[in-house]
Every structure is written in structure tokens, then in C-alpha cells.
Amino acid sequence: MTAPAGDAVGPLLELDHLRMLFPVREAGGKRAHVHAVDDVSVAVGEGETLGLVGESGCGKTTLARCAVRLLKPTAGTVRFGGHDITSLGPRSLRPYRAQMQIVFQDPQGSLNPRKRVGQIIGAGLRLAGGGRGDDGRVGRLLNQVGLAPEHANRFPHEFSGGQRQRIGVARALAVNPRLIVLDEPVSALDVSIQAQVINLLDDLQEELGLSYIFVAHDLSVVRHVSDRIAVMYLGKVVELSPAEELYNRPVHPYTLSLLAAIPVPDPRLSRSRARHAVRGELPSPIDPPGGCRYHTRCPAATDLCRQVEPPLTVYPGGHQAACHHPLNVSSADIAAAVRSPASSRSAGPDLPAAPGPSASDLRESAAR
């Protein structure tokens, strides 16, 4: 296993002002682009888990796929272990492929139904140049994910959903990766099984010093695995913060409403708490709104929000958010705030001038 790198070496994965546009043809043959990821900069350290959350269509999966170069970004750079891999071709990417693996959402669709589990896991081993996939290694991998070595001779359909996801994890582990992208790895599983798979991922990370990018639409799942969490909205990162901070002190109104939308399994609490559901719908990523992209749905939006895109602002404690009217910050926080180098290039120059409305004010205006 690679030794954990010190600060001097820098983060394992760096995404720098990454953009991913997909060409589409609108009605009438007009050319346009889906702005799936629009000027996003994030980094993942050795042994760290970065949670990536947002509604469907916010670009989280696209960002994760660019990170492991399943997609070639339109602009920006992807650096892995300090090397620029943004525009490497398939051949020169091969040494990096083994170091970056991915586990997909649907364990049924991502395992070849006609191959035995041993072949599925062994394929990566063979391709990574480990000679013939030797059976001992496959058995050890199966053990590692809580299955038995004799399962190598079975087909994917003979397993339950949770077990199939364990096979997906074993396949990713086979080539000794340093980074694994987990794209909604538990959202297809039952609640009781979700917890089992998350605990497994936790154990493996501790044992092998892996870095994870954990993509999910559900903030309650991400909380248990992440060191830091990035909240995405319409192709932009709107908030990036140490995990617990995000829950205790959401700064962006969008994060607040994502948190408020999660149902709490406690009837008295969930019925008494003021609901503050996000109004309206996600605007089209083909023609995203100008200014702050969230202004069309934000209860606190002002003219400034409609005109100027807010820069990502770093508050004391490392909490970053892109909002002109930040929640849960004091005047002192604002005075100490600096513009983040991860801000979009299109963002305005001005940092927030004053704390935004309190969370309870927001709820009232949302209720109207």
C-alpha cells in the first residue's frame, strides 16, 4: 500500500476549475450545451472522504466521472498524485486506472450476469498486469468484503443486492487503488443493508488508507462517511465544509433546505418542525440562470443575487460557501472571510457585506 503522504506532497486528487459541457440540439436544430459541471475546484487528500451531494441533475456524477477520467473534461485540469492527467489518452492513462476505481449505483447492472464472481474480480487483476488472476487473491478479496472464497464460483444473480454491492467493492479493491469513487453505492439497497455496506466501506478505508469520493443525493447517508462535504447545485459547488459543520451550521440557503427536506424518523419532531421545502423546480442546465444559480428558488434572493454570481468565500474554520447573504455567520466571521481560490472565474469580486437573514426568517418567507 502507498504510504500516506504528508502535506508537502499535496492532495491525491485535485480538480481545478473543471468544466464539462455536453452538446445538445434543442428544438429547431439550435446548438446548445448542458452545463453539467461549470467551473468546479475541489481536492481529495490521501485517506480522506469527500462527500458530493445535490439533487439529480446537479452534476455530481459527472464531476466524479471526470475525476477518474471516465470523461474528458471540456476545460480545467485533473491532477492525480501531482500529475496532470486531464488529456492523457487511453494508453497513457492505464497506469492511473489501477489507482482510481469506481463502484456504481446499481449492483445488478454493473456486474456481467454471464460471468462468475471470480472472473469478474479477477479481470481487473489480469488487466492491471498482475499476470493471471490467482485464486488466492480473489478469495482474500471476497473475505475482505465479508463474503466467502467459495462464492467465487457463483454468478451475480445468486446474490442479494447488498452482497452484489460487496462484489462491486471487491472488484474495485482488486487492483490496489488509492482512490475509489462511490457513485450512490447504497441508494439501491434496503435500509438495514445500507448500514452494513457503509460500515464495510468505513473499515476498508481504515485498513487500506483509501481515499473516497462518495456521491449521494441523500445528506443523511453522506454524513456517516465523509470528512468534508461539497454541496452542488446546477453544476456549481455552493458549499464546501468539514462534515459535521455542514449539519450544525449550514451557510448556504440551499444546504439549509436540503437538510430540512430530509424526513426525520420521529413523528413528533417531524410534525412540529417548520417545513422549509425548496420551492419550484431545478432550472434547466442548458440555460442556467445568471447571477447566483439558486436565486430562482431562494427565499432570500435580492437584486444582487440576480445579477452577480457570488464567489466561494472561506470563513474561519475552513467552511466555504458561495452566497451573498450567508446564514449562520457572525459579522466577525465576515470580516475574517477571504475569497476562495476555488471560486468560479465568472463570480463577482465582492465578498458578502453582512450576515444574511436568520434561518427562522428564511422559513417564514418560504412558507408564504
Partner: protein, 356 residues
């Protein structure tokens, strides 16, 4: 509360190549006017088969259905296919999980609603279309008149689900069955749809049968709850009873393993060890016993679904543990849950699924 629907001893089994699969095994419950009854369980617990059977959607040469489901004086289990056609969509309507596959992709949504209205009521096209537009407006679709002319693919997931709800309401049904109506949606949209279902039932008095695996959804909207496991009802009671005084270890496990945002983050997520049993070969005795940390000798025979005495009222549980013992044991680390480690004597690696 007068019962709209009375389900008694419903059993559904399917003949498969590998043997008889008992999907629903002796399920009874009732649904009152304006009531929202939640059915919770994991995949394979029989919750969807129960709902589909009420509409006669599980009938077939390989299905064996017994028991009764009384809608007024009509038994939905015994009713002829012809009688059922007058029930489906009119007296009992259904909203499915995936609105994209439940809507016809090549027909405008307004026309789809018109078709349903005119199948059940002698109204003209124009009048039916007016009703469709009013319904779309009612469920919160902006510019309903224009949107009625759109095709399903022109709507977002949440809007499609609103169309499904509008269609389900088009003949003012007595009962609305919603099978995982928000599972395919984002949390933000889910909150909007749940709010919609709540208002509808207040305004129209429709009885709602809400099927979900998400206890958070249940906590938010349900009046009463049925917990199913491996085709059986293991616990049944008011939403307060299920969440604050749960009787069955499976319910404890479900409550314990739901990630909670309102509580501090635990070191490890609590789980229910093992995985749900195969319905082809259900365990003898209590079906949950193989995964239960608290099993003992009595669990080799199956307990009845029973009340703990007169003061427990309609709160029913299917467990051998006495009420006092249960109340003591369900508390793990200050909250309700199943212990992570099996008690002494149980030979099993906790946290691991059993081999298939």
C-alpha cells in the same frame, strides 16, 4: 372511524419453478375514511404484493389468493374481473413508484386523464378535459391548461408524479394506494409530494394506503402503521406507538438503522445483521429469529400477532418477549435499536450477511 377497507387474512402465494413462494401470509388491517395507513418493510416483505392484490393485479394461473378484502360490501379478492374494472381507478386508485413507466409516453397527459374519466363516467370530451385541467392545477402544476397538452417526457420526475396523482384523483376515489410514491424522487421533491398527499386527504377525505421502506416518510404523514417482514405483519399500531413504544425487535432494528440527522453521528451505523429470508423457504418459527439478537427457545415456534392486554388497544405485535422485557431490551445506547453484537450463545458474525 368507519372502515373503508377491511382486509382479513389475506394470503397470496405464487407457484414458481423452485417451489411455492408465499409472498403475503395472513395479513389483516383496516383503513378508515381520511386515514393514512403506512405499510413499511424491506424489499420482499410483501407490501407491494398486498397492494397489488387489492386491485386484482396479482391474479394469474400461478397465483393462489385467499382471504377477504372488503370495500363496503364488495370483496375485492372474490370479485369478478368485470366488477373489478369498475373499482380500479374509480373507487380505488393507485400511484406507482416510477411515473415514467406508469404513464403512456406517446399520449398527452391531459388525454390520459380524459381517457380514465370517460371510462368510468358518462361525460363528454370537453367536460372531461376541463376536469383534467382542474386536477392538474389542483396538484400544483403551473399553467395547467397548456401543460395538459404536454407529453410525459416533457415533465420532470416530480411533476410526472403530480400528474399520476391528478390521474388517480380524477374519479374521486375512496382509496388511494401509493406504492413508494417518492422513492424515485429527490428529497426536495419528496417533501413537496408528501405535503400534497397530506392536503389532498384533508380536503377530500380519501383513505390513503402508503407503501414505503422509509420510516422518515411514515413519521411525517402516517396515522397508523403496519410493519411487514417476510410476508407477515410483525407489528401494527398508531404512528406514536410504532415510533415511541415499538414492540417487535425488527421494528427496533429498522428504527435503529435509519441514519438520523437530528442525533449526533455514531461511530458505527447500527445494522440489522443478516439479510431478509427467502420466501421460498421461510425460517420455521418466528421469521425474524435468525437475525434477532434476542431470540431464545420459544422463537422456534411462531408467535401470534397479539395485543399486550386491554390498555395496549390496537397495538399488535408478533413476538414472544414479554412487554416489560421488550421495553428494557429495545434501548441500545440511549435510543431504540438492536444491539450490534448478538448476545452470548448466538453463534453468528454480526454485521455479515449469511451466504445465499
Amino acid at each position: 372511524m368507519t372502515a373503508l377497507l377491511e382486509v382479513e387474512h389475506l394470503r397470496v402465494s405464487f407457484r414458481t419453478e423452485e417451489g411455492v413462494l408465499q409472498a403475503v401470509d395472513d395479513v389483516s388491517f383496516s383503513l378508515g375514511r381520511g386515514e393514512l395507513l403506512g405499510i413499511v418493510g424491506e424489499s420482499g416483505s410483501g407490501k407491494s404484493v398486498t397492494a397489488m392484490t387489492l386491485l386484482g393485479l396479482t391474479r394469474g394461473p400461478n397465483a393462489n389468493i385467499s382471504g377477504r378484502a372488503l370495500l363496503g360490501d364488495l370483496d375485492l379478492v372474490a370479485a369478478s374481473e368485470h366488477r373489478l374494472e369498475h373499482v380500479r381507478g374509480r373507487r380505488v386508485a393507485m400511484v406507482f413508484q416510477d411515473p415514467m413507466t406508469a404513464l403512456n409516453p406517446v399520449q398527452r397527459v391531459g388525454d390520459q386523464i380524459v381517457e380514465q374519466v370517460r371510462a368510468h363516467e358518462p361525460v363528454g370530451r370537453r367536460e372531461a378535459m376541463d376536469r383534467a385541467v382542474a386536477l392538474l392545477d389542483r396538484v400544483g402544476i403551473p399553467r395547467a391548461r397548456q401543460r395538459a397538452r404536454s407529453y410525459p417526457h416533457e415533465f420532470s420526475g416530480g411533476m410526472r408524479q403530480r400528474v399520476m396523482i391528478a390521474m388517480a384523483l380524477s374519479c374521486s376515489p375512496e382509496i388511494l394506494i401509493a406504492d413508494e410514491p417518492t422513492t424515485a424522487l429527490d428529497v426536495t421533491t419528496q417533501a413537496q409530494i408528501l405535503a400534497e398527499i397530506k392536503t389532498l386527504r384533508e380536503q377530500t377525505g380519501v383513505g390513503v394506503l402508503l407503501i414505503t421502506h422509509d420510516l422518515g416518510v411514515i413519521a411525517e404523514v402516517a396515522d397508523r402503521v403496519v410493519v411487514m417482514y417476510a410476508g407477515r405483519v410483525v407489528e401494527q399500531g398508531s404512528v406514536e406507538e410504532i415510533f415511541y413504544d415499538p414492540r417487535h425487535p425488527y421494528t427496533w432494528g429498522l428504527l435503529g438503522s435509519a441514519p438520523r440527522l437530528d442525533k449526533p453521528r455514531p461511530e458505527r451505523l447500527p445494522t440489522i445483521p443478516g439479510s431478509p429470508p427467502s420466501l421460498l423457504h421461510p425460517p420455521l418459527g418466528c421469521r425474524f429469529a435468525p437475525r434477532c439478537a434476542w431470540r431464545f427457545e420459544a422463537c422456534s415456534s411462531e408467535p401470534d400477532l397479539k395485543s399486550d392486554g386491554p390498555e395496549a388497544g390496537d397495538h399488535l405485535g408478533r413476538c414472544w418477549l414479554g412487554l416489560g422485557t421488550a421495553r428494557e431490551r429495545r434501548v441500545v445506547g440511549g435510543t431504540i435499536g438492536l444491539p450490534v453484537r448478538a448476545p452470548a450463545g448466538a453463534s453468528r458474525r454480526p454485521g455479515d450477511e449469511t451466504a445465499p
